[in-house]
């Protein structure tokens, strides 16, 4: 009976994730006016998928536990359900103007992680539930806290100093685990500073590049970033080092729109990799295990070989939840959890999971695009880059597409610091998506009354459903008012921006006069208003 149910459930899981991903992409296409789709219904459909996923998987866990002790698994499933569905509902209620698609993706990934973890290691799953709850709590309060903070782009020194203090602490008091010295013990709790450094690092770079940087202005951030990356290399935390480096490149590219920097950066990392391959034996071992794990299956190639067995033995539909042998893979609950998902839920489901990550990056890109403040745009870009490269490195490593670097799969792998920081990053991204154009260099900070704006948004959302459309309309109207304001300022300056440029004879790149900024701002906004107008037709 249970066997039959597990096999049926295998196909149900595929169906859930297919609907989830389909809805996600349809919502995005609708936003681009490329499809007609009921956004609200789509989001609700996704929530139903998450709930059904949880229930379907819970029944399997409970059915398997019938012979053993029932109580903990039932309790786990119920609490898991409350955390997942309750957390999602709560965030939706508190932040109606946030990106609900992003919330859905995060909660879906979290639930997949919770279910797989329980099956792999019940103790860790219990802890993971606690970490997730803490993370969700952070995600609930953080946007509120960020609203009342002063301008965050003013503390670049603070960010980088904090980052270096954490790095130094790791180098001094660090504890080695899994080959990398990247743990610090605070009392009984292990803590991974590199996760927290991520946040500071992105904040630092975003505030450095808040004004479009010249080549000269790039030097200091580049040198300091290189120092951070080298410190991580010194801790043999290669995965984190790569993530930081790629995030740095993406942020520089976004801030300068200069391909040259990006290409040079990629060339540099290629050279560095070759050099590292020659210099460090542990890197050579890893590359060799990647090139041919079958030579030394019992030792160096063991992990990756076991991972490939797990992924491929049962074909693309997997063997069914709880029927696999994922525990044969070392550290399956952290780095190799993706292989366990492939084994039990099937490769098709895993492909869907990769697409859920793509949806998260899409929301990140949208948050960055819709924002007209450089600092926040860069912040959003940086956070998205962190997730993107982290997910890419570990999934690529587990399926042997690239050499393995041990990092966690965001929201799914076990790991306290990683989980909590991931939620903090999502909270920051949501905050950026929510405030859009309100946070601007052009105006003194007192002028921006975000609370008032959000109150308006909420009122509008309550009056006029669907909620998303209403926020869009709201932003259109607020864009119009800001446009009016800037127009006024312009009349004070008497000339439109382009003439200012020519009349004052200053090159555009170094132009930082107060007269030009609003003008540039205005062009962007009018074009956007035009877009919206077209869309409304």
């Amino acid at each position: 009976m249970t066997d039959v149910y597990i096999i049926i459930a295998k196909y149900l899981f595929m169906l859930y994730i297919a609907i989830f991903v389909f809805n996600g992409f349809m919502i995005n296409l609708t936003r681009q006016d490329m499809a007609k789709f009921n956004v609200i219904a789509g989001l609700s459909g996704q929530r139903v998928c998450i709930a059904l996923f949880h229930i379907t998987a819970s029944v399997i866990l409970i059915a398997n536990a019938v012979e053993y002790e029932m109580q903990p698994v039932v309790l786990y499933c119920i609490i898991g359900f409350i955390v997942t569905v309750g957390g999602n509902t709560l965030t939706k209620a508190i932040y109606p103007e946030g990106s609900h698609l992003l919330y859905n993706c995060v909660f879906f990934l979290m639930d997949i992680g919770l279910m797989v973890l329980y099956r792999l290691d019940t103790d860790l799953a219990g802890k993971q539930l606690i970490w997730n709850s803490i993370g969700i709590f952070m995600m609930l309060i953080l946007p509120k806290l960020l609203e009342v903070t002063p301008r965050l782009d003013r503390f670049r020194k603070l960010y980088i100093i904090a980052a270096f203090i954490l790095l130094a602490a790791t180098l001094l008091f660090g504890r080695s685990e899994g080959g990398a010295t990247n743990w610090i013990n605070i009392g009984p709790i292990g803590f991974q500073p590199s996760e927290l450094i991520k946040v500071f690092f992105v904040f630092y770079l975003a505030s450095c590049f808040a004004e479009k940087p010249t080549l000269k202005e790039l030097i200091i951030p580049a040198v300091l970033s290189a120092a951070v990356v080298l410190c991580l290399v010194a801790q043999t935390d290669l995965g984190s080092a790569l993530i930081f480096y790629m995030t740095f490149l993406i942020m520089v590219f976004t801030a300068t729109s200069n391909y040259l920097y990006f290409i040079l950066g990629i060339a540099a990392i290629c050279l560095a990799s070759v050099a590292a391959y020659g210099l460090f034996p542990h890197i050579r071992t890893r590359v060799e295990a990647w090139q041919n794990p079958w030579i030394d299956v019992n030792d160096k190639g063991y992990q990756i070989a076991q991972s490939l067995f797990a992924i491929c033995t049962w074909g693309i539909t997997g063997i069914g939840f709880t029927r696999g042998y994922a525990n044969s893979i070392p550290v399956v609950e952290r780095d190799f959890i993706f292989a366990a998902i492939c084994e039990e839920f099937g490769v098709i489901f895993a492909a869907g999971l990769i697409l859920v990550f793509v949806l998260i990056f899409l929301e990140g890109a949208r948050g960055a695009l819709e924002n007209r403040n450089r600092f926040l745009t860069l912040l959003c870009t940086g956070f998205t880059a962190l997730f993107a490269f982290q997910a890419f490195l570990i999934i690529g490593g587990v399926i042997k597409m690239i050499p393995l670097t041990g990092v966690t799969l965001p929201f799914i792998s076990y790991g306290g610091t990683s989980i909590v920081i991931s939620y903090i990053i999502i909270a920051a991204m949501q905050w950026i998506i929510m405030r859009n154009e309100a946070y601007s260099h052009d105006k003194p900070i007192e002028e921006v009354d975000t609370r008032k704006r959000h109150a308006q948004t909420r009122k509008a959302a309550a009056m006029e459903r669907p909620a998303r459309r209403s926020t869009e309309q709201k932003s259109v109207s607020s864009a119009k008012t800001t446009a009016k304001k800037t127009a006024k300022q312009q009349t004070a300056a008497q000339t439109p921006a382009r003439t200012v440029k020519t009349s004052t004879q200053r090159p555009a790149r170094t132009e930082k006069s107060s007269t030009q900024r609003p003008a540039r701002h205005k062009t962007a906004q009018t074009s956007m208003t035009e877009n919206r107008g077209r869309r409304n037709k």
Binding site: M1, D3, V4, I7, I8, I250, F253, T254, A255, S257, W294, V297, N298, Y302, A305, Q306, L308, F309, A310, I311, C312, T313, W314, G315, I316, Y325, S328, C342, V347, A350, A351, I354, L355, F357, V358, F361, L362, A365, A368, L369, R374, T377, T381, T384, A385, A388, A391, F392, I395, G396, I399, K400, M401
Partner: protein, 483 residues
């Protein structure tokens, strides 16, 4: 900046689509090459409540099947167990043979959902069955020939590498492995669990002259003539022909046909260690043969700096060279197959419970171990062994029954007897622990080879003693099996 953000998103999208593409490719196309790795613990798992797939011979006769017992569990039952014991193996005590290596296929439940639902209503849940390449008729002849004798018989289809027959004795009963485990393991004298066909390593004796002759042909030293006096001194020791027989004037062909040791010893010194070594290496010594069952690599340990005595001994098949009967069958097949060595296999395909064919094994080339021209010349040499040399009693003829329908409607059956040209080589392997081992390798018909046979009889004396078994197998195959 906005276009840069868009481009970065497209970069992510492409990277992650590549991930998905790679993942699907890995699972759909690349997985065959590594999933069967012995370190994959998933393959050895099995479920108690499913009916393990049956194992059939090439004609569909049952070799092994699960039989439902009164208590509702299944018991594995083997037919003609002694003939198949080493190849098919057993499911108890950690499994062996096909039962072990193909455990995954035997326990894979096709159309799982349907079968599981049927299982709820009392239907049986059945794994996929296996159809072997072995033919029961040949297995029976080989088993009978080997009875009371230590040894092994392997027959192959030269063009495909399909193993038609593989028997090793002393054998055991797969049905009673559990009961007799202690005894089977402690019998060091007979080692019945050892599959002599694939794991037994023996000195090749004169059958190695095929390799030496190939080396001579490829290096153009075939015009040597020599007067054999039955013994010759090389370095510090004297080499004798079998029984000290003096062959008289020998050329390349007659020396091969008569298996003249002193001629081949001299030929070895002319070739030198390096050339002999290079031929042996290209023949596949010291290499994996890609068989799915347990096997031992045939070894050729001589190096370039070997002394004269080692070269001479190696050249006529003594020395330290060791081969398995299967490997000798592969070499013989390669000669028959224009120099192309095929990968040997014993499992032809899987069958789903509904009779659908899955995982059909496609013949795979192992290596072109010699040029087609060399193979052709070797074939002539081996024909001469049967026509005028040491294996004259290997010749046979097949009778073909023709049924003609006359105009009146009555049918007349007439029997035609056609002689078959056999190509072969005998070998007598000197054995420091006892009597000589008898070797015979052959293929037939020489102009269109359909079967290659390798027979090894431990301590059976001279090589020609191994000929009858090979002849019977070839005759049966050409007369009744091969169409």
């Amino acid at each position: 900046m906005r276009s840069a953000i868009r481009k970065v998103f497209w970069l992510y999208l492409i990277l992650f689509l590549i991930l998905i593409g790679y993942l699907l490719k890995l699972c759909l196309y690349d997985s065959h090459s590594f999933v069967a790795n012995p370190y994959n613990t998933r393959l050895s798992g099995s479920e108690e409540n499913i009916k393990r797939g049956s194992i059939y011979d090439a004609n569909g006769d049952v070799i092994a099947e699960d039989v439902l017992q009164e208590d509702g569990t299944y018991k594995r039952v083997y037919n003609n167990a002694e003939n198949y014991a080493h190849t098919v193996g057993y499911t108890v005590k950690g499994k062996a043979g096909v039962e072990s290596k193909y455990n995954f296929r035997l326990t894979t439940v096709s159309f799982e959902l349907i079968q599981r639902i049927a299982g709820l209503f009392g239907g049986k849940i059945e794994g996929n069955s296996l159809v072997l390449t072995l033919d029961d008729r040949l297995q029976k002849i080989a088993g009978d020939e080997l009875r009371g004798q230590k040894g092994s018989i392997v027959a192959m289809e030269p063009s495909t590498g399909k193993i038609l027959c593989m028997v090793s004795t002393p054998s055991f009963d797969s049905n009673t492995v559990d009961e007799n485990w202690e005894e089977l393991n402690s019998d060091d004298e007979n080692s019945p669990l050892l599959n002599r066909a694939t794991q037994g390593l023996y000195p090749p004796g004169s059958t190695f002259k095929i390799v030496t002759a190939a080396s001579a042909i490829e290096n153009n030293v075939t015009d040597m003539t020599y007067k054999c006096t039955g013994a010759e001194k090389f370095g510090h020791s004297i080499i004798h022909c079998y029984n000290g027989q003096a062959h008289g004037n020998m050329d390349f062909t007659s020396a091969f046909a008569e298996s003249c040791n002193t001629y081949f010893g001299t030929l070895g010194t002319q070739l030198g260690a390096e050339k002999l070594m290079s031929t042996a290496n290209s023949f596949g010594f010291n290499k994996d043969i890609g068989l799915a069952l347990e096997y031992s690599k045939s070894t050729f340990p001589m190096t370039a700096d070997a002394d004269v005595n080692e070269i001479v001994e190696t050249a006529f098949g003594q020395g330290r060279t060791l081969v398995s009967p299967l490997f000798m069958a592969m070499i013989t097949s390669a000669v028959a197959n224009n120099g192309m060595m095929m990968q040997p296999y014993v499992v032809d395909h899987s069958l789903t419970p509904g009779g659908g064919v899955r995982n059909r094994t496609l013949p795979a080339k192992l290596d072109q171990i010699m040029s087609p021209d060399t193979a052709y010349k070797l074939k002539d040499l081996m024909c001469e062994v049967v026509n005028s040399g040491t294996a004259r009693n290997a010749a046979f003829s097949v009778s073909e029954e023709k049924t003609e329908t006359l105009a009146s409607g009555a049918s007349v059956t007439s029997s035609d007897s056609t002689a078959v040209q056999v190509a072969g080589k005998t070998g007598t392997a000197e054995n420091p622990h006892g009597d000589d081992h008898a070797w015979f390798v052959a293929f037939a018909p020489a102009d269109d080879p359909q079967i290659a046979v390798s027979v090894l009889l431990e301590n059976a004396g001279k090589g020609s003693n191994a000929i009858p078994a090979a002849r019977k197998i070839m005759k049966e195959y050409l007369e009744n099996i091969y169409q």
